[in-house]
Symmetry: C2
């Protein structure tokens, strides 16, 4: 059995190498590649993807997993080996159900859809995009049809990003959240402030230097990570000791500081996976929501806190004398926590962001069910948006066309952003209960104990357990929106009232 297990590990390591190579090729394409390289690179990534998929769904791996059932039962549930067999079996069963032709068709449609979407968004032309969306929906329905173990079709899509999570759970959590958020935002979203200084100028070099200054305190280190420029920031990695963060800088926008903290959160999670899981399929964060909980924890709970800025603001003011030389800390602090309904999800504040997500979550289910005629999607989007956020949508570019996800068939991803927000506060409350003086540490610019706690309790686990098991281990219970609502009310309510 030891030999069979070693063979499984060897095969999985090879597949993992291909997957990671893909990730670096993607990073390279987005961050480094000369524009001429796009077409050939597309082929390279597709080839690696196909080979990895073929090798993974092979009969040999299925047989190995069968053969190793007894061995698995003899091991501790939480051991690396048992977790590898268990998680791989789950992945294998799911991947094996999708015919290669459908997988290839989805990949092809995503590649073709991207450029059409980009053009449609630029030209505010929903009708140009509609055929892409129709095809994506049709492919997703065929994808759902490959499975039979779901309560409702959307479960299948959600499971790709949040394994084991059910639509009904998300609906419950989001309904709770929406019921609290809509009136809260209607109330505090109307508080105005003099935020004109936020337009800068924020010199690019100073933004880069200050971003590094902050994330180095969080745990970023050039011995295992890089921070580069791109158009749509993301984090990627080749292994736990090779983390690639990306960000972007605009002269009139200091958002990059928070983007760096956000991507650093993703990066620290990948970096913190146990070295014993390197080159295995367990060597990743466990789910999109858990991942987002870490980016949001470092960005919002830490990076937009009073304690954080009590430490950093003096040096921040020195770094950006033209923008904030005469802006006191309280004014800056209110500006970066301003709640104000706006059209673009990625630019939304901490509170309204969730309503953008809930809107998409609801629409995705209705589209999948055929309850919305796609010809009328812009109208449905616009009226629902105004209902939740209180402002009208002037163009489709600022509305239904703004996100890339649907063009690539990425249905089921959106909810994980808000689930991440929710989980981030659950984890934060847990840390704080065990290390009550964290705020004092932040005031001193110290984040090492927080990082260590997260690394030990969460990051090191990688994909050993399901997301639910992982959350249970970290916070002692299931997902729950209540702490997050309380956090938002406490923080934002206080700011609005003051």
């Amino acid at each position: 059995m030891k030999e069979r297990f070693a063979e499984l590990k060897t095969r999985l390591a090879e597949i993992h190498d291909l997957r990671r190579a893909q990730e670096i090729l993607f990073w390279d394409q987005t961050v480094m590649m000369p524009p001429g390289g796009g077409s050939v690179r597309g082929h390279q990534v597709t080839t690696l993807d196909r080979i990895a998929h073929e090798k993974f769904i092979s009969v040999e791996i299925g047989t190995l997993l069968d053969d190793l059932s007894d061995y698995e039962q003899q091991l501790d549930y939480g051991s690396d080996d048992a977790s590898l067999i268990r998680t791989t079996r789950r992945d294998w069963v799911k991947a094996s159900r999708v015919p290669a032709e459908l997988a290839a068709e989805m990949t092809g449609a995503a590649a073709e859809g991207h450029d059409v979407w980009a053009k449609a968004r630029a030209e505010n032309d929903y009708e140009l995009f509609r055929p892409v969306l129709e095809r994506a929906v049709e492919l997703k329905r065929r994808y759902v049809d490959c499975f039979d173990d779901y309560d409702e079709p959307y479960d299948v899509l959600l499971d790709d990003y949040e394994p084991g999570m059910k639509t009904v759970e998300v609906r419950q959590v989001f309904d709770d959240l929406k019921a609290e958020l809509v009136p809260l935002i209607a109330e505090i979203g109307s508080v105005e402030g003099d935020d004109a200084f936020m337009e800068g100028p924020w010199p690019i070099d100073a933004q880069h230097a200050y971003s590094l200054k902050i994330i180095e305190r969080f745990g970023y280190n050039p011995s295992f990570a890089r921070l580069d420029l791109t158009v749509h920031p993301f984090a990627a990695s080749s292994g736990t000791q090779d983390i690639r963060l990306t960000t972007r800088y605009l002269e009139d926008d200091v958002t990059s500081i928070f983007t760096a903290m956000h991507e650093c959160g993703h990066g620290l999670y990948e970096h913190g996976v146990s070295p014993t899981l390197e080159r295995t399929p367990l060597c990743h964060g466990v789910s999109s929501a858990l991942h987002e909980s870490q980016s949001r924890l470092w960005e919002n709970i830490v990076g937009r806190s009073r304690h954080f800025w009590n430490h950093f603001y003096p040096s921040f003011r020195e770094a950006f004398p033209e923008a904030v030389g005469d802006v006191d800390q309280e004014r800056f602090f209110r500006a970066i926590n301003r709640v104000k309904p706006s059209h673009i999800r990625v630019d939304a504040d901490e509170a309204t962001y969730n309503l953008h997500i809930i809107l998409r979550f609801e629409l995705e289910q209705e589209i999948l069910a055929g309850a919305i005629d796609l010809k009328e999607l812009p109208e449905v989007w616009n009226s629902r948006f105004e209902e939740y956020l209180g402002i009208p949508v002037p163009t489709d570019t600022l509305g239904v066309l703004q996100d890339v996800h649907w063009s690539g068939g990425g249905f089921g991803y959106f909810p994980t952003y808000s689930l991440g927000n929710i989980v981030s506060v659950q984890i934060w409350e847990k840390v704080l209960s065990e290390i009550p003086d964290l705020h004092d540490q932040f005031e001193l610019g110290e984040f090492g104990q927080l990082h260590e706690w997260l690394q030990t309790r969460l990051y090191s686990l990688g994909r050993k357990f399901t997301p639910q098991e992982t959350l249970e281990r970290v916070v002692g219970g299931p997902i729950d929106a209540e702490p997050y609502v309380r956090y938002l009310k406490d923080k934002l309510g206080a700011l609005a009232a003051a």
Copy 2:
């Protein structure tokens, strides 16, 4: 047959994608990767290499090549399709003769040998390196034993870099060259000059800007290429429209200007391969020597010429006022063309460089034949070096340990450097005979017609023909040292005499 051919192309494209992905992973590792990523990256590259090798030597490809023989005969010899079948068959026969275990052992030994070599060189400890060398030689002998179609064993090694070239031909060419060079260098290598200004300072930013200024005139364009920093400069590519050049900068050394021209030459060759050959095994320069002929042509024949500097020197002086503000053009020109025996091959001037190569070429054959006891290699190196170059070798770090090649089993590579020098002048004379006013164009900073000639006549061919056929097509004859010797005598003799 059309279908069989399409299947061959599809399989080869997939393998080519894996190979190019490897190349970008290597570039990334050398240029971008955080140091922590090394161990995992090593596995990724090995995995891609193994999969590409397995897929290439598969029975399916062998059968396709057999089946396509008739189809090939019906096609023009010079057509893309016939060339693809013919060249692939040659590659396949060679690759299939090497057992997978030996290939893996060679790859492993190279990876292990590298670090031992680096340590041995740093510590001037040949005995530390000797076991690595012994193993490399033993593996090379086993590699040679896989073949039976050679005149002498060294042919097999040479063929890896210069397909079809025979040792006897190289020996003849090098003997001619040595007979001319040793006395020439003894004569002109003693001319002294006041080159102290060459120590700079040469500000790094100005070196980078000036390097780009020059290579953009040669044809470099950021739409299809990059120029980045590394320790040991090289050129790599992901396809014809994605070329990665690397260089390095030192405050006290302006060699980077010539390094950029050198790597640009390699890059323009890869960029110039016909777009119809993209994603096929023909999409590369045809051999090491032909490749080196292009880097050396742009670096030396163009970049160290009077005409070139007649155009560039005024702006060069403005770019580096501290180093050459009071150095006239003639003094600078003599300094960059100074012939002076020195110990390190990569720092050698245009003329003495070849003696470094000839030394290695002779030693490699004697080592392979067992004619040198490896315990005595340093003594053999040192006495032969002094015989050819006229100076003693003070340490093994400056002698037998200086090059990385042998640690990785790279026997057979060295001669292609000098063959490249030789070929570069053959090609240059041909261009000049067809475009007699090239020198006038250089005086105006114009290199477009030269680039176009090379692209049309050489670069576009890729690997369609053998190196010999390619050279025949470009210059109308076989390799010949005579033009190169004449070029060196004319240029360097004149400088020494003046």
